[in-house]
């Protein structure tokens, strides 16, 4: 346990510079994006009011509707979903890099890591935990970023034009945010459980490649493919299976895949891995 925690802390530390950059990008991009889009919208409102001789925002709202937080966001959507996409892509790449960086470069750290006392599976757990924590960290950042963004929206949009929504409604109706941070606790756990299972499968594929090189690469790709098919498999039996069965089967298969991945990874790390 002690060694596992030390490894997690070390793994977090190894990524912190890129991570800080991702966090900064998220904050800056979303703040600037919202500011810019509200400014653009308000310019349009003023221009339209002048053109049509409307004297108050209330009249404008009556005629053209209000400006919601959602519409403000959607005008400069790339600043929001774009920053999220960059973060997601970076973390997805890091799922691979978190292993390969130990092998490559002048200093092949994997020598040291494999020679640490205790189970080598600690490496697997630590890296998996790191990926999960890094993902959740960005989610947490997004969570604390929403209230100031909302406040900025309320500050910049005149009351007569504003259309209040809660963060939760915004998230629920936004396809990307609803996927990455579903407000329903069961969904949140399910999404990240499936996500972490996927990461475990990819880790296993990476370890196969690291153990058997080219042949391992083929085996790993096959393993990942079969795992993917198994996870989406139950849904394709929708005409025969009831929803509860499909759901149960998917969860059961994901548990099975997770356990299998951990077991295979443990065996590979113990017996087959090569520096």
């Amino acid at each position: 346990m002690k060694r596992y925690l030390h490894l997690v802390i070390m793994e977090l530390h190894r990524f912190w510079k890129i991570y800080a950059a991702l966090a900064a990008l998220t904050v800056l991009s979303q703040t600037a994006g919202l500011w810019w889009s509200i400014r653009t919208l308000m310019k349009r409102v003023h221009w339209e009011m002048e053109l049509t001789n409307l004297s108050s925002y209330a009249e404008f709202a009556n005629q053209y509707g209000r400006i919601s937080f959602m519409s403000a966001v959607s005008i400069k959507e790339p600043f929001f979903t774009g920053s999220v996409a960059v973060c997601v892509t970076a973390l997805l790449l890091y799922v691979f890099l978190i292993w390969y960086r130990d092998w490559y470069g002048k200093n092949t750290f994997i020598y040291r890591l494999l020679m640490l006392p205790g189970s080598r599976l600690n490496l697997f757990w630590a890296k998996l935990t790191t990926i999960l924590l890094l993902s959740w960290g960005l989610v947490a950042l997004q969570i604390v970023l929403f209230p100031p963004l909302m406040a900025m929206y309320r500050h910049m949009v005149p009351e007569e034009l504003a259309l209040d929504t809660s963060v939760f409604s915004f998230v629920r109706h936004h396809p990307v945010f609803d996927l990455l941070m579903p407000p329903h606790a069961a969904d949140f756990l399910l999404h990240y459980w499936l996500g972490i299972t996927g990461v475990a499968v990819v880790f296993t594929a990476i370890l196969m490649e690291r153990s058997f090189r080219l042949k391992g690469l083929a085996a790993g790709a096959l393993y990942a493919l079969v795992s993917g098919l198994l996870i989406i498999g139950p849904v394709s039996f929708e005409h025969v299976l009831y929803p509860s069965e499909i759901f149960g089967l998917t969860v059961a298969l994901s548990v099975l895949l997770f356990v299998l991945s951990v077991w295979i990874s443990g065996m590979l790390l113990k017996r087959k891995i090569s520096v």
Binding site: F168, P183, H184, H191, Y242, F247
Partner: protein
Amino acid sequence: MKRYVISACFACFVVLAIGLFLGLASAKGLPGFRLETAAGDGKEAEALLLAGWYQNGPYAERVTIGAEGSEYESERSGYERFRAGSISVSAIPELVRLTEAYPGFMRGRTHASTLLDYYHDDEWVIRLQASLTLVIGDRMAGFHNFRIDMLDKKTGRKRSLTAPLPDVLRNRQAVVADIQKIGDKLHTALITFPWPFNGQREDAELRVYQISLQDGEVTGGEPLLLFPGGADDQVIRVGEVREPDMTAPRKYLLLKAYAPDSDDRILLYSYEQGKTHTLTLPAKSPEFSGSLQYYRDDSALVRLLFAADEIRMERYRLPGFEREREILLTPEDLRAETFQNFAWGENRLYILHDANGLPAVSALDLTDGNVIWRGVVRAESSAGELEKLGISHILIRP
């Protein structure tokens, strides 16, 4: 040491932020509504749900409102949404009931189709499936056979048998209209059309076969002209008359036919007597802006003309189509401004209307036309929320 503290802080931040987010989200964020009984027996409210929209800022939130409260689509879990959207869950209440009671028997067959029908009584659940018609070039290969699955409700045992197809169906297209178990015979009503189909169903026939549930022997099947003496060269649409439970035992089969510029015709077939009898009723006039629907149970046919300002209901006794009574209802009778929508229930007509600006529902007894229950939608928090609520239709619970 510093690194350890930072890592611990980071982990705490993550857990707290996400915990707070999920915790706050689980509290009901959108206003609650309830369907309250204003008059009559409160149990009536349990049969239905109101479906509509709540305007939440820029979002129109789909909501259903019942006696126990409201449920928003967006606040349901992914699993619940998946469940509701799954094709393996039927939207037809009687099939939902059957599925819930007999999931094994209903597996993979929870839908309704023109080649599939159900019968359900105290002892048996019976399903008849006709295998698909095959079209090879311009030739009709016809059915292969009938397949019958029976579930003995007492023992839970399932029995299946197949029955050969009558030769006459080899060059006709057919759909299953109804099945009824009478004694140890399964009466199977088919509507058949000549093949190749020329777009005109003037010689559509009704053929009722009796399939022995012992050995699968098929008898009967004399063609009955569906609508004798009318609709020459006219494209007609044939369908079954709505009923509260399409799987329930019935003495009569009721079909309706519409044709342009022609009266509506209702055909009654008596399983016991093997005879048909037709009632002709005026079609919907072009001036009438509302809707015209037929509804039946085992004792009567109801013809409904529904408009925003008037409801006219005529009741005909079966099997003779004697006109029993006519009921006329205006919004004032329900202290409403307009009628908005309606739904059929077990011996009920539910009417969606407004009452002093509030969404309300009234239930009519189909037998005598009396208003026996009345419900209104109330907001659980502030009444002002009702202004953002719109009810579009009534759902009957399975």
